[in-house]
Subunit: 189 residues, 2 copies
Amino acid sequence: MGIISLGGVLVELSDAIKGRRTVRKFKDDEIASRDLEHILEAARWAPSWANTQCWEVVVVKDEDRKRMLAETLTQSNPARGAMTRAPIVLAICAKRGLSGFYKGGPSTDKGDWFMFDTGLAVQSMCLMAHSLGLGTVIVGLFDAKRAEEVLKVPEDRSVTVFVPVGFPEKVSHAPNRKEISEFVRYDTY
Amino acid sequence: MGIISLGGVLVELSDAIKGRRTVRKFKDDEIASRDLEHILEAARWAPSWANTQCWEVVVVKDEDRKRMLAETLTQSNPARGAMTRAPIVLAICAKRGLSGFYKGGPSTDKGDWFMFDTGLAVQSMCLMAHSLGLGTVIVGLFDAKRAEEVLKVPEDRSVTVFVPVGFPEKVSHAPNRKEISEFVRYDTY
């Protein structure tokens, strides 16, 4: 593969990466099962620690269940409305004690790597959703213990984030980003 | 945006996501500074906890510094050779106590979210590199304390992963992935 022949791909991936916005207001339109499958496939192909693939996804469409999950967010959380308005909420779970572990103990000073690996998979899912014209918001602030009860998640798993998905009704503007010069250094910090 | 008019993008993003492989053997070819910039831009536009953007990137090109970093990996680590053969090693750092924190304390049962946010940014970088014809490997297993000394990283930052980047000499086959039915459930776990 060369850069010239990939000009189109570069522009489009770059557009997807820069164009993806957090979306909290959704239309009522349903998500086609083929689109959902593309999003789940995107998670499937993410890399992970020694290919442990610790992530699991609960696809929540049931209105009552979405409402119960919304109640695990505080009233002031701006994503709370998205939990019930989105036609689908993806509850991203992870099996603990797998990623970053060797023979039952953590291999690094970071402990369990489930958060890192989940991050890899979630980014692929959000980019894929965006390329399908769908909006997402990554919700990390909620009562996880309560959410795990609502979803009947086993003890050795955590619910890491919720990702409501739907057709955007309103797309937020991009929050400011640091300039490259503000977060990049050369050879040493 | 509609699905039909985005058919091309879908196929291409999907190809990038499924086609990205771990690469540990690189050619000697240098990486154009424009390509490096595209990869850093990809990190820049990743989402993060309350837009905290905790990640920082040290771009390591100096041969001695790469060798010193390679020595923070065990001899048996299959990525050790990639640390010196790759023309560039990206050392992904993160400021702790920022992502997932509110008024100095963690907001959730997950503690610091720097691993999750770093995962989001790293996946965007690896996909962008792949779309430019470049290969990457995500290295998490190394002596982080020693690496932080080599890179002169301040106390309140962690080196989370190394990402050697270069033109692939040899591309590994895709390790098996779970089927969607093995990691996806509906409405409850």
